[in-house]
Symmetry: D2
Subunit: 464 residues, 4 copies
């Protein structure tokens, strides 16, 4: 057929098979596919649907195939479309027609989505461990720099002095939320569709719960059509990953700002930045920039699968095959980003003197000066007015609040006592913010203790 033949320069060579085959990407689920088949035939034998001998032959064959794939000797074939057919065909070649019995009371619809459940479950466990590693590094950094003072920002404007440890503990708690979101999602990932068959179940007397149990899955889908049509668990993971990526993007932004010449609060380790062949002072925070940029990729993958699922009628449609590459890309991206950021963050050099120095003259202690008067009973608005005048005086005379003499200060209000000189020191601004969750050292130490307890608890959950 050459309908459009000679009219164009060349014809792209592309077959329907190239277009529809999933083996180039679903081969990475070979282990899960084989494990699923092993559990399936074990159940079939228990239910007397196949014999024990058949079961043993099949399992032995699958073990050999697994070994071949892992040692690289297995040959994947595009013409067999997907991982399921590649394994099944190899099994039949290996053990003869009995191999075909692996597919009794099963269809590719439930098999493919089972593989995805199993694969994602494992990857989520790894990601959750990675999150804990990152949290541990944050705690280590917070403890090491527990009393380093830095400017706190809102609107990227100097607001109030803070502890550096307080600032970075924010990320500890966001990562904890990520961990908990993944835990919740895990409940919906760890459900078995096996035995739903094409869409309606089967007339073979299978035991779906038993097969699930063999795979360590505590729950089966209650409705066979739901089992093969559901991709919520993929999307929910992609959502959780998007929020996690967003957190990393915020950290990246701060690392980039802080390691700029203009902020100068930290220095990246050489291993996590790239130099320029000319400018020795230049350390491009590549790792952070790329981590920030990869946020787009993670968001985009979420949008891809949401779009793909929109408006699909029941039950399985081939559109759904598109879930995997986006899922795999997100898993790879998140794992890479978590790993490299954990390492990067554990190696930052905190320039505490520069941070402290930079507080001079930013008037971030003005709040405390006003609070001082308010606590002495002066109405709030009046206190603000008084401090406002003091600040204006400083600006006009190129002074800082902390440079003023007691006399100068008292010229704005006679409520000011000698202790005001202490009150407006950055250390004091920090130390007095003793409210729960506040930036006072004791409160940050509390947060660290809580953080350690959380981490211990997380780990106990992961080692189940």
């Amino acid at each position: 057929m050459k309908l459009w033949g000679g009219r164009f320069r060349k014809e792209t060579q592309f077959t329907a098979q190239d277009f529809t085959a999933s083996i180039p990407f679903d081969r990475r689920m070979y282990k899960q596919d084989i494990q699923g088949s092993m559990a399936h035939v074990t159940m079939l034998a228990q239910q007397d649907i196949i014999t024990e001998e058949e079961r043993d032959q099949i399992i032995k064959g699958l073990e050999e195939i697994m070994a071949e794939i892992e040692d690289g000797s297995f040959e994947f074939k595009v013409e067999l479309e997907d991982i399921h057919m590649n394994v099944e065909k190899a099994l039949i070649e290996k053990i003869g027609p009995v191999g075909a019995k692996v597919h009794t009371a099963r269809s590719r619809n439930d098999q493919a989505v089972l593989d995805t459940h199993l694969y994602l479950r494992e990857e989520m466990e790894e990601i959750m461990e990675q999150i804990n590693r990152f949290q541990q590094v944050i705690i280590d950094q917070a403890e090491e720099h527990i009393e380093v003072i830095m400017p706190g920002y809102t609107h990227l404007q100097r607001a109030q002095p803070l502890l550096f440890s307080h600032h970075i503990m924010t990320y500890f708690f966001r990562l904890q939320a990520d961990f908990e979101r993944l835990q919740d999602c895990y409940k919906r990932v760890n459900v078995s569709p096996l035995g739903a068959c094409a869409l309606a179940g089967t007339s073979f007397p299978i035991d779906r719960e038993y097969a699930a149990e063999l795979l360590g899955i505590p729950k089966v889908y209650e409705n066979s059509m739901d089992a093969v049509s559901d991709r919520d668990f993929v999307i929910e993971f992609l959502s959780a990953a998007s929020i996690l990526a967003m957190h990393i993007s915020r950290l990246s932004e701060e690392m980039i700002l802080w390691s700029s010449y203009d902020f100068g609060f930290i220095e990246m380790d050489d291993a996590y930045s790239t130099g320029s062949s000319i400018m020795p002072q230049k350390k491009n925070p590549d790792v952070c920039e790329l981590s920030r940029g990869k946020t787009g990729r993670v968001y985009g993958n979420l949008m891809s699968v949401l779009t793909m699922m929109k408006g699909l009628p029941m039950a399985f449609n081939s559109d759904m095959q598109e879930d995997k590459e986006r899922l795999f890309d997100t898993i790879d991206t998140i794992k890479g980003v978590l790993d490299i950021n954990t390492k990067m963050f554990s190696h930052i050099k905190v320039k505490k003197d520069r941070m402290k120095e930079s507080l001079k003259g930013d008037f971030s202690n003005a709040t405390d000066m006003a609070d001082y008067l308010a606590k002495k009973g002066m109405p709030f608005r009046q206190a603000h007015g008084v401090v406002g005048e003091a600040v204006l005086y400083c600006v006009e005379n190129s002074k800082y609040l902390e440079d003023l003499t007691l006399e100068e200060i008292q010229s704005f209000s006679d409520q000011f006592q000698e202790d005001i000189l202490e009150v407006i020191k950055p250390e004091n601004c920090v130390n007095t913010r003793l409210s729960y969750g506040g930036t006072a050292p004791q409160r940050v130490k509390d947060q660290i203790s809580i953080g350690k307890a959380i981490l211990k608890d997380n780990k106990s959950k992961l080692s189940r």
Copy 2:
């Protein structure tokens, strides 16, 4: 200033205030704002930061303002920017300078996000109730049409006969997943930022847990900067809403297909479709089309807030003000869609005769014919071949499998016994799929029982 003055046709009149004011949309959180303030001053009085008299004055003033807003006599002012300042200013006007004490040990940063937590919490409870209502309607419909048989589809091609009740119960379980996702999200919504102040906490001896308790919130943010910087809870809700919208889009697609002339499986109630002024047979499934279309809106809102949060440094940035309109639009959309779809679905007319009739000749019973032989011990591939020939014979002779005589059937294989005539009846195809979650009537009844138990449990959780 007229830098670009005479050169252009006209100058848009738009002020920075119009641009930045949030009162046009955040006024809908007035109740939560006032409740938050009441809890705050109650705590302040308990901690002796204000007196009990001051507390009482403030609470009385706030109650009056609440009443005025609810009876429509309160005047919102754009120049006061947001709901917080509108209420505070009115309070001061009402009770004098003491009104300003409501803002002691609080900033707009923690106040605004507290309002969002409180508002979203309430709306989520309502949405969860709506989900349960929809689930109830699905169960009612499934029970009413428990043994209606219809064609089951994969790839929108006829696959195997199914129970209509089995098909629609799929949506019950997806809605249940939506419910559970919202439950999980709720834990992260129901956390109090109050007392985090601008970003660093406060030197006033506040009791954050107590204030939270007054608001029925069991948990406070452990880190003050985290409290004011976190919008995860909004995004997580938007994600859950997107998955829910996706489910509705799938149902909508099926309703549209089924009510088409070509499928003809259901008829929409007049109230949920629109006619044409000319064609009396025409019932446009508007409600379903719009519901499907609104999926885009919900997805887009998720993408908006994810994008907005990308790369923001700590702590509060005004960008975050953009979370609210997208959140409100999603809440409104989801509530509208759930409500109207519940009603629409409870009124569909199931054309069971047409469904049944349409099964004739679609060969969706071929699987059962092959399974018949397989169970008699014939190798699977051989059984497929036999049935394939029978189907081909039917196609060539314009017959259906169910039209064949026993003799004709036996001409393809002598393994066929008289019972094959029963086996290939759609009723039988359905009745024998007895595996857990399968489409046999008993299995669907089990699903309905499980569904009822789930609903009871859901309700007990909601009425806490």
Copy 3:
């Protein structure tokens, strides 16, 4: 019907009409709707489908309705669903049954999308004017600060000295790309679907080109089904708007960075920032933060309409009604953002001394030092090595390159002559980058000249 009656707390009151009515938002297209009808009846009369008297009656009625809408006396009714029915009903009430003839040879499908074409066309013209205004302000600022030197960044690390005017002209050229994208999009907006009727055209002898001409539209859709099914023109506009929003987000980011305490390159005008009640130095760049945040809204709207259109069969589906609110929100957002940023940008105070001062010691002139040697014939890598040593010497001795004496410099290479002291001055670094598009003052002046010519040309296109 009370299927779920007593089981739940309350029932949301929501009707299908509330759900499907578009009048709350499509009323803003009243003018376009009426203009479209006027053109339509003028054509109908010319083709003798209605009489001239009928035409005159209808047009008079429509003029009265337009006047009533504009003076606020027109009452919109939700039960009439949309702007089209609201106007048509009012017309019939006003002039009697003849009013119904306005709908001869037209359907709501072609009418609604015609209104959208007309509405968007007008708004795009305004947005294009706004872009030109913003471009003019950039040129004005560039000319006013033509020789202000600032640090240039890559990776947010100091790279090479630049002219401030060069930096901001980047935005001029990006806005020009936005303008040109809108121009291209305009060609596809300015096409008439009128006369396509429901989907198949009509048997009335209409003249679609004439009706289009009356509306100033040069082109009609070639295929009636395409005319009512196409929403590309909306999406293409939303895409162009997203790219524009992205540009503004980058400018916003830079404004926020530059007005931070740490950069300190500019000062926002009071009118475009908000203060804090305590800290007089604090000027939160609200306008820029919100502009950056609104990027999410614009992206989300694009994603909404793309999602909505995905997989829709021909021809019109009610899903498409969802295009309008997202379009209107984007138009409003873009217009607001452009207007306020134009004003904001025309009022920034450029702190040129601080910019210049900050160049000291950032080693951003190291490239020029190496280029100096390279031009004398020293192989590039060797030159880099020499300068690397010089920089290291400076860092170890707390000096800047520009502090070194000629003797010190020559100790690194005897190729350095006295002119090296000039070469490494920031002014010189800038002045010598004379390549086309480079940062040398003459090159930036060229860019400004080009910019002025472009603007003149843009305006001539707009006043067509």
Copy 4:
């Protein structure tokens, strides 16, 4: 460093280099990278920045490298990060230190983005050709089935009879809009950043226009910072690709519907559908389902790059490296989808008898019956009423309009003459819709003529 050492199960091995290297994906731009370098050195020699001998040596070396890459003997090294360094290093190894001169007056910033411009330009040309091929197939199918009548739908409800050729020509015109969007985008892709260097231009006396001309690029960026910071051209392409993917998703939906048992309007060719091992009648329209599903991927890629660019300060940031994989994935997807859909569509079997048959009794000719009366002068609403009664009569008596006798018809109105029997035949309904763009055969033939002229014009543009 083993901060988190023994506490966790295993440590992911992942280096910053693995994380930041782009060579795994940017190697596909090797040809463009080498062409860019050739043009660059040719210009350098013309400007006497390097000698002619140096130029010749470099070009010879580059030619050898190109050949090695193309014959597979070139070894790409991850430690050399990207395609630029891989080529440059190989060049220096091949021809000695003079090879380093290729990088005179150039930086990786302008080089990398030049490669992207060149690469995308080529791919767009191919995609535009593919679009034309698809358009040709549509025209061929329209001509072959010029007078096949089918039901026309709105809201997926039967509306009015149509020509199949009219319906599919809709896609011709949408693809033409895609073509024109790509043409417009091409203008902004085909611009040269070369010579912008890092961000500020260079002090070498380069000739950017000449280098561009050598590459067949008619225009250079006017501002050097803009040249290296701009990724609009990538996003604009991704937007155009998203709209194109949306069109394909609509076609896919229709192909899936039409090849369903319930519609039965077409039959897919075996090569573009997959069978089931059991059901011979089953042809899953995999290609169409996957094409529809891939829409999500294309939308997601657009969202990824938009997100990535949001809020980036000038000039180059490493985030931007993330543009390439998303761009490549979109190019591959679009090319694959266009190719396979062109083939699929050229092979569909149109079941014209089934289409025609299915029109019986769908009342899609009711509009014409009412128009008949309206043209005789009966007011529209009255005509509707009359036809409504006739339809009701048919429904109640299980008849179709076309079954009624003249007497029966006249019982509803005596305005009906004998010609009404002709008027309501589907052929007549189609034939009389003679308005421009309508579905009458003559009008569709006009569209086909216009389409042919457009295609000829497209091709002349592509062969420039």
